[in-house]
């Protein structure tokens, strides 16, 4: 596996020129990380506020109004409709005019005093956002009101804040992300998902394209060896992916204010290992795929797998064991763990060495496998 550096340089130059010529493609490729950041930063929230709520208030007394006000003040619910009966309420949810329905029965204030008040909450079960956020928020508000009433009844103190009257107070502190800002959680994982998709599909597409258009033959007839041809294709992509990485981190840190607490140099080094192993995956795919269309299909599968089984969206520890094993095939799973640790926790190599070692091993294995497979395929 000797490499002639001069030949490699010439080949790499050709690939870079080819890349730079297709400006539109470059813009589309680099547009992806930017678009995803903007969408995650501005469009996606894990908690949904301002759910449209329809209310049937059959008491209309101070206590019921107080409860509705507590719901609205929480910012989770917007009072959009006032209705008169339960049928109207379900109908409004049927048509999607409201996602949440609140029904307060007659004589609410009296029953609160007696201590047997009931409130009915309807949630639109077809809409996960409404259910998850709405259910949690409403339950918490009701519990708070109830706790205040109860504490007040027992201690005969004015119903102010519960923490003064309860015997145990839990102070909680969220480490690394004290205000629970969504984009802080998302960015370190997003880096992994975007880079893996980019690296795998571009590596596969570029090799397959040469084959589909027949432009690979002239290169093969030169003295260049398969490994040199491969490296010349990988190097510009490595640079491109690294550029995308800096774009993601840069926009995340400077525009969205996500803190970077760890060692930047260490982060970039580990990221290079990760990008390199993903590019290797893409090259392996290019052996299987005959047409670019096929390669794009593989690319979509990898994007999905990267999102679902890397721990980016759903914690891996919650999945059945076979899926955890499946998830650990892909380099992105290790990189996301490292990325979160370095980015937000600011820990050093002593905490992440095992995951980093796996990525390094990946690179070695993939170089060996790819150069072997390619020799067979090209000869």
């Amino acid at each position: 596996m000797e490499i002639n550096l001069q030949r490699l340089k010439a080949l790499t130059r050709k690939e870079i020129l080819q890349f730079l010529r297709d400006r539109r493609l470059l813009m589309l490729i680099l547009g992806m990380p930017v678009l995803q950041l903007v969408l995650y930063g501005y469009a996606a929230t894990l908690t949904v506020y301002h759910l449209p709520m329809a209310v049937v208030d059959q008491s209309n007394d101070t206590k019921s109004r107080q409860f509705i006000a507590a719901m609205v003040n929480s910012q989770y619910f917007d009072l959009t409709l006032r209705l008169d009966s339960q049928e109207e309420l379900t109908h409004a949810i049927d048509l999607g005019q409201a996602k949440v329905g609140l029904m307060i029965p007659p004589r609410f204030a009296t029953s609160v005093d007696k201590g047997d008040a009931n409130i009915l909450l309807y949630l639109d079960g077809t809409d996960s956002a409404s259910v998850q956020s709405g259910y949690g928020a409403a339950a918490l508000i009701a519990q708070n009101e109830a706790t205040q009433l109860q504490a007040w009844k027992i201690s005969h103190l004015p119903p102010n804040s519960t923490s003064d009257t309860l015997p145990v107070t839990a102070l909680s502190r969220v480490l690394y992300n004290p205000n629970l800002i969504d984009i802080w959680f998302i960015l370190p994982g997003l880096v992994g998902v975007v880079l893996q998709t980019l690296a795998i599909t571009q590596a596969a597409l570029i090799v397959v394209r040469d084959r589909e258009l027949g432009t690979i033959e002239p290169i093969l007839s030169t003295p260049a060896r398969p490994i040199e041809i491969l490296l010349s294709k990988v190097i510009p992509l490595l640079v491109l992916c690294f550029f995308a990485l800096m774009l993601l981190v840069g926009i995340g840190v400077f525009w969205f204010g996500v803190p970077f607490r760890g060692n930047l140099l260490l982060y970039f080094l580990v990221a290079l290992l990760f990008i390199f192993s993903s590019l290797g995956f893409g090259l392996l795919l290019s052996v299987r795929a005959n047409t670019q269309m096929e390669a794009t299909q593989y690319g979509m599968v990898f994007m999905l797998v990267g999102m679902l089984f890397s721990g980016f969206m759903y914690p891996l520890s919650n999945m059945p064991l076979p899926l955890q094993v499946f998830g650990s095939i892909f380099p992105v799973t290790y990189f996301i763990r490292i990325s979160r640790s370095i980015f937000l926790k600011g820990v050093g190599l002593n905490f992440i060495w095992s995951d980093a070692l796996v990525l390094a091993a990946y690179c070695v294995v993939i170089i060996l496998v790819v150069s072997r497979v390619f020799k067979q395929r090209l000869d």
């Binding site: 449209p52 077809t126 706790t147 009433l149 109860q150 998302i186 599909t201 570029i206």
Partner: protein, 366 residues
């Protein structure tokens, strides 16, 4: 004209069938996606790893901790000495939450002012949110039980979740995923097929024949319509008959609205194809559009939570209209006519994209 169109469609179908591997990949890939999603999607979090620094070691502190273990939400995985050890456990990722109980906990408790400290791992989203809510609620309940003994709560909230009483995540996810797959396939594939001819140069051969741009466009769309529609059917069968998701609406009307949705996707695909020159560009552009559709087209996130400008952008995706209709048909048993504004908007979108595509297409070919 009809004969010409028919021959062209035949050519496209043969071409599609010849590339078996891609075809199989599309079909099998989408079919497997259903199962992947059904296995991955679990938004409720159980057994969150917890470390404890119980510096009090009294009956009172053990009772307090029991409240956490019996809830099923937390697993106590270790007992450590102090705050620093808790932070270390969270730093290294062994635990997601830590509780520190001070040495004089039981004395404080008798005076009615005990304080415990909770530390949470803020670097992984789902676990943190759930852990935060659950831990606070457990602690509060414990405190109330101390003062009130068995006093019943004066205010009861009864929650009724309509259409999906057990809150099965898949019931939300799969109808939206079905639409996403049909939309993505119809859009990406149409664009790829057209651009492919351009990249490989085979489009020239077709252009010298008497075939008109419009005929070429229709012939390119029909095989994609078949592929997307078949994938949708496979998806539907898996969702309803294997994964047991209820479908209360009319299957015939679902076919009709799906076809309209696919046609919108085809139209968008044809528009995309006029803006790109290579398959790689087409793939990247479709990727951008698919990702936008996931966020802005009501597939992952409901569109009413979006800022107004982004909500407008969402209106170009058929899924914005199709997701409420199809979810309603699955779980609520409504008909598309109940949501006539959405249905109408989708039909207008279909006509609009095809008109634009036809226009751009003629320009790009000439």
């Amino acid at each position: 004209m009809w004969i010409r169109l028919w021959t062209l469609i035949q050519k496209e179908l043969i071409q599609l069938l010849r590339d078996r591997r891609t075809l199989i990949l599309v079909m099998v890939g989408s079919a497997i996606e259903v199962f992947l999603f059904s296995a991955a999607v679990h938004t409720d979090v159980k057994n969150i790893a917890m470390v404890v620094a119980d510096q009090s070691r009294t009956t009172a502190s053990r009772q307090y901790l029991d409240a956490f273990t019996t809830s099923g939400t937390f697993d106590i995985i270790g007992d450590v000495s102090g705050e620093q050890a808790v932070v270390d456990a969270i730093d290294s990722g062994q635990a997601n939450i830590g509780i520190i109980i001070p040495p004089d906990f039981s004395d404080q408790l008798e005076q009615g002012r005990a304080t415990v400290m909770m530390l949470l791992d803020g670097s992984s989203s789902y676990t943190t949110q759930s852990a935060y809510n659950a831990a606070n609620s457990i602690s509060q309940q414990y405190a109330v039980s101390l003062i009130g003994q068995q006093a019943s709560s004066p205010l009861m909230l009864h929650t009724q979740i309509l259409y999906n009483p057990d809150l099965i995540d898949l019931w939300f996810v799969l109808p939206a995923l079905m639409i996403f797959i049909m939309q993505a396939l119809s859009m990406n594939f149409t664009s790829l097929c057209v651009v492919r001819e351009r990249e490989l140069g085979t489009i020239e051969a077709i252009l010298v024949t008497p075939i008109r741009p419009l005929e070429f466009m229709i012939a390119k769309s029909i095989p994609q319509l078949l592929v997307s529609f078949t994938t949708g059917i496979v998806f539907f069968i898996e969702a309803v008959f294997i994964l047991g998701i209820p479908f209360l609406g009319s299957a015939l009307l679902l076919v009709v609205v799906s076809l309209i949705g696919i046609l919108c996707g085809l139209g968008l695909g044809l528009v995309i194809s006029t803006a790109v020159q290579t398959q790689n560009q087409s793939y990247q552009l479709s990727g951008l559009i698919n990702v936008s559709a996931m966020f802005l087209g009501g597939i992952f996130y409901p569109s009413y939570t979006l800022p107004i400008v982004l909500r407008w952008l969402g209106y170009i995706f058929p899924s914005t209209y199709l997701v409420p209709i199809v979810r309603g048909m699955f779980l609520k048993g409504i008909s598309p006519l109940d949501l006539w504004p959405q249905t109408l908007a989708m039909i207008l979108l279909m006509i609009g994209t095809f008109a634009i595509a036809a226009r751009l297409f003629r320009q790009s070919l000439d």
